[in-house]
Amino acid sequence: MEQENKWAEDLPPNCPPEMAIPPKNEIFYRLVKQFPPTEEDFYSHRKLYPEKRFKTNKCRVSSLSIFSDLSECAKLLQLPLHKNKKIVQLKLPSESGVILQTGNNSSHYSWWKTAAYNPISFCKEV
């Protein structure tokens, strides 16, 4: 039986998608506002902005974006909203949640984090 509060956030029905799988200690990269990161750096867009209305992509906006390729993640630092952010490296164990490659960038993954996993102490600054 699935644990109660398994996921870090309330997820819509059928989310995460069935195709999402647990990671196997692969390395991923994520942007954070500062180093060391805070819990908020691992909140989804939906959790950060509950007043925004999301109709078609509730599951995606409840996930966290991560990249398997450092250079692809670093490119985002050139966009207006991410200019002053930092990159952290994460090695995701299977208990950290599930991941699924999403979007047109093959190194972009959506990560649905479990409540029990706290990534902060595992983050390495890049």
């Binding site: 867009h45 966290l64 985002l76 966009l79 047109n104 960038n105």
Partner: protein, 162 residues
């Protein structure tokens, strides 16, 4: 006339869409960049973009900065989005009021990595429907009359103000 845009394709996603292709009621396409995030609204900076330029952007031949600094039609807009890009009104913005904070860094190039169902091949800028063409032709019929009325109006105004 107000321009109202719909989402066509998300080119860059990071927790939420960052760079989006949208189209308006005249099938004009826009590149819309996520530039400001508040509690309730996502602000996007949008510029019209032709099919040719969009293709060049997809092939890393033109930078995102160049597209925003020198839009083909010399027009800039912003869009306040509450959630998703669906029936969003574009608000014109003057070049002088564009903040550097809203612009991407000069070296940002984008390569379309794989074919996406949602990335529709771009239709040409200003592709009108048959009805829109007919409406324009109807309007043109009245052009001499409109010009005459305009001249008379200017004359009236100048008499009244003199």
């Amino acid at each position: 006339m107000q321009r109202v845009i719909q989402h066509q394709a998300t080119l860059i996603d990071y927790d939420s869409p960052q760079l989006v292709v949208a189209y308006d009621q005249f099938n004009v396409q826009y590149l819309c960049l996520f530039v400001e995030c508040t509690e309730t609204v996502d602000k996007f900076l949008c510029v019209p973009v032709s099919a040719l330029r969009l293709k060049a952007f997809y092939q890393e031949l033109v930078s995102l900065r160049e597209i925003y600094e020198n839009p083909e039609s010399d027009e800039w807009f912003y869009a306040d989005v509450v959630g998703e890009i669906e029936n969003i009104r574009l608000i014109p913005i003057a070049r002088e009021s564009l903040s550097e904070d809203w612009l991407p860094e000069p070296e940002f190039y984008f390569k379309k990595m794989k074919a996406q169902d949602s990335v529709v091949e771009s239709s040409p800028i200003h592709q009108f429907s048959k009805q829109q063409i007919q409406d324009l032709l109807d309007l043109l019929k009245y052009k001499p009359l409109l010009e005459l009325l305009n001249q008379q109006h200017s004359l009236t105004v100048s008499i009244n103000t003199s």
